[in-house]
Subunit: 191 residues, 4 copies
């Protein structure tokens, strides 16, 4: 088993347990047991628990972002781009319930706040796909003149809530409903 394998085992075990039981319900000992490694081994790959939690986020976020960037309709109208993203988010997280749960846990923890803050006050050159959309929408005046953070709230919040409801069994999102959701979000931000 290669070094990368073991690291991945830990990442997966931790992600699963954090998703299923919350950050506080998953002690390091349980993670190591599930990963099939010794308790101390985790610390060869991650300096401490906090770093592990952050690294899971980073890993998942990269994977998620790559998914959204696939077949992204560069150069096409803002509306079309938005639909790509909205439906992309739904598709991805419908298929990945654990990642979705992890994501929810993460963004409602102290870790999540900091990440969000960095994202919204982004001074690094990182190209956030949604941020770019917002700027283009403003430029072409196809979306309402609102602060960027609020753009996120209106356009994205319902999507995440709907996915959560799907996983909790309150609704069943198929292609048609996915279309309805994203379309409704678009209605709330378009001029």
């Amino acid at each position: 088993m290669s070094k990368t394998d073991k690291r991945n085992d830990i990442l997966n075990a931790a992600m699963t347990l954090f998703a299923e039981q919350g950050f506080h319900g998953a002690p390091m000992a349980q993670i190591s047991e599930r990963a099939g490694v010794g308790a101390g081994t985790i610390y060869r790959y991650f300096k401490n628990r906090d770093v592990l939690i952050m690294e899971i986020h980073t890993t998942l976020f990269d994977k998620f972002t790559n998914h959204l960037k696939e077949r992204y309709p560069h150069g096409r109208p803002v509306r079309e781009c938005f639909f790509h993203i909205g439906k992309g988010i739904i598709d991805y997280f419908i298929k990945q319930p654990l990642e979705f749960r992890y994501n929810e846990q993460f963004h409602h923890s102290p870790y999540g706040l900091e990440v969000r803050r960095n994202k919204l006050t982004n001074t690094t050159g990182e190209h956030d796909i949604v941020l770019e959309l917002y700027e283009k929408g403003m430029e072409y005046q196809v979306i309402k003149p609102i602060p960027m953070a609020l753009f996120f709230d209106l356009a994205i919040a319902p999507i995440f809530w709907a996915v959560r409801d799907h996983h909790q069994g309150f609704i069943k999102i198929d292609n048609a409903l996915s279309e309805t959701i994203v379309s409704s979000c678009w209605d709330s931000i378009r001029i």
Copy 2:
């Protein structure tokens, strides 16, 4: 000091500390200290920590619901009723940052899931109002034909996210922006 007073002191102390420091950052000893009671006294009023956390939620939720019911425009058009609720939520939680923080913590903890499940199944409290709104909207065909849970997601999610952004300093919600937010939500659900 009456029995009720002491119970309230505990509820308030616990709510504040949970809101400020998270569930994990507020040990029972600190709660009892802040409430001005002995550590053991908490257990006379609440069977254990989990029950305390649940009771705080119930208490806050009742208070919040009552706020929304005040001057509720019964019999008026769905749109007007929705604006009453939407702006009511914003007003309330802008003024009550601690309660908002508590609410967020709560709904993203294991406790939260169960409550939500009951909420959508039973029809009590807040949902009486919103449920009624949904049904009336369906009947008069002024809102899109979507499942009730999705109605929630579209209409309410952005409001909570926006309030969170307000408290975290990413946006500043004044009356005008409040109007914009609720209006945008309405755009996403109206026919």
Copy 3:
């Protein structure tokens, strides 16, 4: 059992174990077991392990100092005062092997250095009995003109080493030998 009793139990258990097994050979769990209290109880009386170690020192040092101050020949010649102290140290630590061992451990740990530093650079009004002796000896020119720290080294070091040899069985200090030791130390510092 009073509060003070339990605190004393912990202090004694810890002192004994530290003396017998060294700081590193005495885990908190063993201390609590020997003290007959729960593991967490120690932390009601001492913030942490380091504080416990310091408090033992303080307690022992006060007791020891009080012993030396008994029947101290105030106003009598420096030589007589020195003999009182020298023989007092020997008497005390011959009778208290555990306290002696603790003292040795302590003074050769990082804790000990700090204490010694404070003592030698003393700006607090604390009346150290040996320090006073040094100053009087200098004033009356009955001891060699040497730095204070060296006075300690010459006058006190052999006494502690001799007591250690006594406890380790290399010598047997009786009254006569005690007299010899202190007298020899005096020979090394007197003019």
Copy 4:
């Protein structure tokens, strides 16, 4: 690099780290890193940590003893021999602060006791010289009639304490003060 080189690298790295950070502050991993060898390699040369600690002592002690034996004034008066040894100790350890620190750590650890016991029982190394000195002093009646261990305590203890004070900055030992120290020690043992 020969076998001996690697062994020496480990000894030096370990000695330095133990001296600087104490036995408990220097994990094997850090030692191996500093020595430029793999973690497991240490165990090819030393059965375990305790053995490593003991071997460092032995090595340093041999080196130290050889230093004292250099230009030893065999056949000259006891006083002269004593001055050679006393000043030799001071010179050596003033120049070798790390070795001195290591020595102090060692002798106040559980390891130290056993070694000292053997030292006073057997007659090897340093003690050859000092033992000889003691016996000659007794024979010619130039030093007080005291047990050998006590001879050590009176003659050597102040020297070690003074060197410690030098390294800790409480005194500054130059040639004159070195003379004073050894001379004072002599005063305490001579007839």
